[in-house]
């Protein structure tokens, strides 16, 4: 089966690019912060605490994000190959063989991505430590170390996510029918609902703690509020299939008014809600974390505006922005990554639409409308998630529920999300339309 997995990987390289990128970037990100735990081995006192905090906190968020990205791109890749898997099964492959093949593919991709991430992860960790040296959070005498923690966290998390994702994807792939069905909507699984509820409870807990216990405790409020938006965004991302289904019901009227293009979008939203949810997921993470953290920092800046900022404040700000920048960059790349994979896979569907009489412009229009709906949905959910961080922190720091920074933060992040989503989908769709319609459905 490993042989089969290898061959299938080589032929279907494009389907695995998204997973590979998620693993590669995720492992590099995790290794760079995992390295802070290695560095902490040589440090003492506050420097040691700071290093451990940065390593553990960022590692913790990163872990969730990376696990999510890897699992979601993997299930997308397997879903795209439903037809191929059905063929394999009708050719006599047992469910066990197919499952082993899928898991082997996932692990091969994870090993390749993880190993290649070691050098960039090492360099990135160097950069993070340099920032902490500059901010005098860690004395220059504490040198860089990249050892078991970095490798263990980086490789361990990505491999474990790949394995878990592979097992889930394999289970789904071999369960039930052997033919891809037109209706992939389906409700949320119980596991998904429970996980979302637990995450939402955790985010709410952090929000309440920030707004009450940490009230007036200054900068420390950041520790409890910083990741609430991430946790809330993950919870909403888990519910994304239901959100897409809800959008389909809510928008049925206006979409139908758009004629055939609207019909196509509506049918996709209603019957491909799981596949489209994979696109909404990174939009929620991107906007949730982006808006939440920028408001948090703006509130902090406003709260400490009266007094001269200390070196400590500045380095916290820089570190905060670097960490968040990396996580947002990761989410943005995942967004582009997932969209490219999702759209490229629809070559056949676009070909079928064209054979039914859709002009290329109409296919593109349907993609544009669909992207707009998905972006709006992701931004709405992301904004809700961001409030779990920004509002309690504003309460704790300034006593007002309104975070500083004004509407510009929302507008900027939302615009970026729209441009990334729309631009990527548009370009990917144009590419997918280049082949003649008959060739695309062959």
């Amino acid at each position: 089966m490993t042989g089969l997995a290898l061959r299938s990987l080589r032929r279907r390289a494009s389907a695995f690019t998204a997973t590979f990128l998620a693993v590669f970037l995720g492992a590099a990100l995790l290794m760079s912060f995992g390295a802070m735990l290695d560095v902490a081995g040589d440090a003492t006192g506050t420097a040691r605490n700071t290093l451990l905090t940065v390593g553990l906190v960022v590692g913790g968020w990163g872990l969730l994000l990376v696990a999510f990205a890897v699992t979601s791109t993997q299930s997308l890749a397997v879903r795209q190959r439903a037809e191929e898997i059905a063929l394999l099964r009708s050719a006599g492959a047992t469910p066990g063989q197919v499952a082993r093949m899928i898991i082997a593919e996932c692990l091969l991709v994870a090993v390749a991505g993880g190993v290649l991430a070691i050098v960039p992860g090492w360099a990135l960790g160097h950069g993070v430590l340099a920032l902490m040296h500059d901010g005098a959070m860690v004395p220059e005498t504490v040198g860089y170390a990249f050892g078991p923690c970095a490798l263990g966290v980086g490789l361990g998390v990505t491999f474990a996510s790949a394995l878990t994702g592979g097992v889930f994807a394999a289970r789904r792939a071999v369960r039930g029918t052997t033919v891809a069905s037109g209706d992939e909507a389906g409700g949320l699984g119980r596991g998904r609902i429970i996980a979302a509820a637990v995450l939402l409870a955790a985010a709410s807990g952090e929000a309440v703690t920030t707004a009450t216990v940490m009230r007036g405790k200054g900068l420390d409020a950041m520790a409890t509020s910083g990741q609430a938006d991430i946790v809330a965004a993950l919870a909403l991302a888990l519910l994304a299939p239901a959100l897409v289904g809800g959008a389909a019901r809510a928008l049925a009227g206006p979409l139908r008014a758009l004629g055939a293009v609207g019909d196509l979008v509506l049918a996709g939203l209603a019957r491909r809600s799981r596949r489209l949810a994979a696109v909404v997921l990174p939009i929620i993470l991107f906007t949730g974390i982006g808006i939440g953290t920028l408001h948090l920092q703006a509130t902090e800046n406003a709260a400490s505006a009266g007094r001269a900022a200390s070196a400590d404040d500045r380095s916290v700000e820089v570190l905060n922005l670097v960490v968040i920048g990396m996580i947002i960059l990761f989410a943005a790349i995942m967004l582009v990554n997932t969209l490219v994979a999702a759209v490229a896979d629809r070559r056949r569907e676009f070909g079928q639409q064209r054979l039914a009489g859709a002009a290329p412009g109409q296919v593109l229009a349907a993609v544009a409308v669909e992207s707009a709906v998905l972006a709006a949905l992701g931004i709405a959910a992301g904004t809700v998630a961001s409030a779990f961080t920004s509002v309690p922190f504003a309460v704790a720091r300034t006593g007002s529920a309104l975070p500083a920074g004004g509407p510009l933060i929302f507008v900027g992040v939302a615009a970026l999300a729209v441009v990334l989503t729309g631009g990527t989908a548009w370009l990917a769709a144009r590419r997918a339309l280049r082949a003649p319609a008959v060739a695309a459905v062959a």
Partner: protein, 261 residues
């Protein structure tokens, strides 16, 4: 549409399709395959034509060039009197959705749309008000009146192909092209599909061009046109399955001799 024009004595039959010296080379430099060479063909409206030939003889290429799905590299194609050349992709699409219907071996129904939505789609894409009654009527005619709200995946192959035929016929096209429409079907479903295609011609006056490799399927047509190595290799009027099979055997042998020489 007024439907068929019965060809009275002395009156020239209305022409549905004309190919003039059509040639097609696939691929670019380095990797060229000549799929068609000097094909000239004229089909009257209201006729049922089968195209046969060994695998790789250019049947699909011929159909796609004739239907405006592919552009020939030489020659001219006229569909119901209008020339296809020199149109943009969007213009070709508009032309196709008004004048042409397709049926493919693999159905190519949209998987997220119901049976009825699939049949309504071409008209809606053309910006016309969808005539639900006409769509439901034609679906009833192909025996799927009780499946309007099913998804294609919930139907058998034969039923899906009947939906595809309903979709191809609902816009009252000048020509319906079918590329091995029975290739993926069991014997019974294949017969239903062939009966529907010939009913479209005999009763409703449509023009049908069908690629097939099955002599029995070809015997439903008024005329069989043979293709070998991208060129026409004769035709047979009022074909019987036996005559077609015999001709195909000779053709395959000739192609083999040609390849060996």
């Amino acid at each position: 549409m007024s439907g068929r024009e019965h060809t009275g004595r002395g009156e020239a039959p209305r022409e549905a399709l004309r190919l003039e010296n059509v040639g097609k080379v696939h691929g670019t430099d380095g990797n060229r395959v000549r799929a068609l060479a000097g094909v000239s063909l004229r089909l009257a409206a209201g006729t049922f034509t089968a195209v046969m030939g060994p695998s790789g003889s250019g049947k699909s290429t011929l159909l796609q060039c004739a239907a405006g799905l592919d552009r020939p590299t030489e020659g001219r194609v006229f569909l119901a009197g209008a020339e296809l050349a020199g149109r943009s992709e969007a213009a070709l699409t508009r032309f196709r959705r008004e004048r042409v219907g397709f049926v493919f071996q693999r159905f190519n129904l949209l998987p997220t749309l119901t049976v009825l939505q699939n049949v309504l789609l071409p008209a809606k894409l053309a910006g016309r008000r969808a005539n639900r009654a006409a769509a439901a009527d034609i679906l009833a005619r192909v025996g799927l009146g009780d499946r309007l709200h099913h998804l294609p995946a919930e139907l058998s192959g034969g039923q899906q192909q009947r939906v595809a035929i309903a979709r191809a016929l609902v816009t009252a096209p000048d020509v319906v092209f079918a590329d091995e429409p029975t290739g993926a079907l069991d014997l019974r479903s294949a017969r239903d599909v062939l009966a529907l295609l010939s009913e479209a011609v005999r009763v409703h006056g449509r023009t049908v061009v069908m690629v097939t490799h099955d002599p029995v399927a070809a015997s439903y047509a008024d005329r069989v046109v043979f293709l070998a190595d991208g060129a026409l290799a004769g035709s047979l009027d009022a074909p019987t399955a036996e005559a077609v099979a015999e001709r195909m055997t000779r053709l395959a042998a000739a192609v083999e001799r040609g390849a060996a020489a």
